[in-house]
Symmetry: C2
Subunit: 161 residues, 2 copies
DNA sequence: CCCGAACTGTTGCGAGCGCAACAATAGTAT
DNA sequence: ATACTATTGTTGCGCTCGCAACAGTTCGGG
């Protein structure tokens, strides 16, 4: 892996530069996440699950897959790992015998809080490259883009049906 | 998969909102890419390789892995696929008998040009959600962030050594 | 009540990718 | 020249993830 190819001069249009930057930014942000979470023995996927849980009711598996936009089978296997690690436990849902919910163990709660604090701190640090004003403006841009792109995907999905 | 969980109100800080948006944007952009490339029988990875090639010398495998930030083995297998599909062919490098380069076949060149045109058009379309002025401002933000984050990763890499 | 449709979670399978080890080749220091 | 090291590409292995099929359960229309 190298980070040499980061000049945008040869790219034909601003639209294309923007496109490339979205991709590149994701790559460096993800790499930063892995650095932060690795000392806790957590992958980004496991972390995202952990953050959605609590020590009480927790969440149903189907809720987790909906929230994280991953397949149900992925959640099944993530929870398998995390249960084996002693961070979470499955509980049958008495009101719906198909369903289970997943809640944090004491160990999982501790891990969640520590990892969350470290991750939040890291985000503040990394995103702090931009001042609060610029961050706000960037969020506005992103919201407009994401809304538009999302609609386009949903449209093409419904066309497939 | 659903796109329901897109509100940012519960997120604690602007830095964190920004972080989430980078991730979300990547997801919708990637999904859009797959839609565009699927009619050509191309995955995003194959497309990225194709764009870097030409019908003359092409590129060495190591160059491709450097430019695309993927492992050498990934390139080996991508080229295997694309050679089998008849889009590219390997040529031994006479000046370095360890190396090969990969060049487009006539079929590959045609595919590359068609897919590139379709992808460029799609990018213009999708990024065009923002006007030219906003795009330019966004690029400036991104460049600052990417530069800062990149340096941070390179620093932590060198610390590991 | 009952039958078919929808939903929840699990499993098998395959695609994609990174890492480590390897053979072949090239570069370099003595 | 020799020996040591670096580089190029390939392969085996393991991990992550999505899709399709499945069993068990719930829901709704007749």
């Amino acid at each position: 892996m190298s980070f040499d190819d980061f000049d945008l001069d040869h790219i034909p249009s601003n639209a294309h530069r923007l496109y490339r930057l979205i991709h590149d930014l994701y790559v460096v942000v993800d790499a930063g996440d892995r650095d932060v979470l690795e000392p806790f023995g957590l992958t980004p996927s496991q972390y995202r699950v952990l953050v959605l849980l609590d020590a009480d009711y927790g969440q149903r598996l189907i809720t987790l897959s909906d929230r994280l936009l991953v397949a149900r089978s992925t959640i099944t296997r993530l929870i398998d790992q995390m249960e084996h690690a002693g961070w979470v436990h499955r509980v049958d849902d008495p009101s719906d015998r198909r369903a289970q919910h997943v809640a944090l163990t004491p160990l999982g709660l501790t891990l969640r809080n520590q990892a969350y604090a470290a991750h939040e701190h890291s985000i503040e640090d990394r995103m702090g490259v931009l001042g609060e004003r610029d961050q706000q403006r960037l969020i506005d841009f992103f919201l407009r883009m994401r809304a538009a792109l999302r609609n386009r995907i949903i449209e093409s999905d419904s066309q497939k049906k």
